[in-house]
């Protein structure tokens, strides 16, 4: 299972991902329609792209009044039956990650569909802040980073115990 991973330190807030997302899904260069949202906090110098986390048991699906949000059994993506969405926006309130975008053109709510396995935002991201990685790899990396910290500590001379 792969996952769209964001490295907040690398994001410069350029907004290319939003443009490519909107143009790919809605054929217009309109960041408002993008399924990825960048929250910019200039005082702190932070650019935080927020996107659907493709939860395994999504709270948006739990809230949906029409039961149109389901999990794709193969890709693990959270998918919507947009035909039957009534645009009530309850999923927006239920999602902690700002993963739901209201599509003003069609009056429905949409979320990241991972572009069917080849996310356009990842391809265009100039700094590599967005990455599309295997979850196992992400975990492995975190563990290795921690282990490296341990082994690089000066070795204590210890009397044996146990």
């Amino acid at each position: 299972m792969k996952r769209l991973q964001v490295d907040f330190d690398k994001c410069t807030g350029c907004g290319l991902c939003q443009l490519v997302c909107a143009v790919k899904h809605d054929r217009q260069f309109n960041p408002v329609l993008a399924r990825i949202k960048i929250f910019r906090y200039e005082a702190q110098g932070l650019n935080l792209p927020l996107i659907c986390q493709q939860c395994a048991h999504p709270p948006c699906a739990a809230a949906c009044l029409m039961n149109v949000i389901t999990k794709d059994a193969v890709t693990g993506a959270t998918v919507r039956d947009q035909e039957n969405c009534i645009g009530c926006r309850l999923c927006q309130a239920a999602c902690p990650f700002e993963g739901c975008t209201y599509d003003y053109d069609q009056d429905v709510v949409v979320n990241c569909d991972l572009c069917g396995g080849q996310p356009a935002c990842v391809e265009i991201c100039p700094t590599g802040a967005l990455q599309y990685l295997e979850i196992d790899l992400v975990l492995e990396r975190a563990r290795t980073a921690e282990a490296v910290k341990w082994v690089s500590l000066p070795e204590p001379e210890r009397s044996q115990h146990g």
């Binding site: 986390q53 395994a56 693990g76 902690p96 979850i135 975190a142 921690e146 282990a147 082994v151 204590p156």
Partner: protein, 156 residues
């Protein structure tokens, strides 16, 4: 006093018995990817580091959990994930500074060490003594003793 998993990675030979027994006890299968303790290894540098949960006082996994599934029990000091409330958003996994919290793609939930309810099986099955389950006090005591011995033995 709070007991915790103490790891002496110098003693770890990388047999991964702990992973096997952990997944067997919790999930009923021997599968390292479903184990709550994982051994990071670098075969060229030659180290094996078992990584378990530190049961932090201010756990990051609890801080970032958007649904309150990860909770710290103030009485016992245990940090646990309620799998039935977990939505599988992987925030805890990203947030854990020790790469500890793990994810079960089959069930779609995150899981983490529960110290086997106070009787950690990984400790029992670790034949080299790399993993021990002791109070923090005892470990501190030992370290103080170490320092003291070294100070005495060193020529002035």
């Amino acid at each position: 006093m709070k007991k915790t998993l103490l790891i002496d990675y110098h003693r770890c030979v990388g047999c991964r018995n702990c992973e096997m027994i952990c997944s067997l006890v919790h999930e009923g299968v021997c599968s390292p990817s479903l184990a709550r303790i994982r051994v990071a290894r670098d075969e060229r540098a030659g180290w094996n580091v078992p990584l378990g949960c530190s049961m932090c006082e201010k756990p990051m996994c609890v801080m970032v959990c958007p649904v309150g599934a990860a909770q710290r029990d103030e009485k016992t000091g245990m940090v646990l994930i309620d799998e039935s409330r977990c939505i599988g958003c992987l925030q805890c996994i990203q947030a854990c500074p020790f790469g500890h919290a793990n994810f079960n793609p089959g069930q779609g939930v995150a899981f983490k060490c529960d110290l086997c309810g106070g009787d950690p099986q990984c400790v029992k099955f670790c034949w080299t003594g790399a993993i021990t389950y002791e109070t923090v006090d005892l470990e501190l005591e030992r370290r103080r003793e170490d320092i003291a011995r070294r100070t005495i033995n060193e020529p002035a």
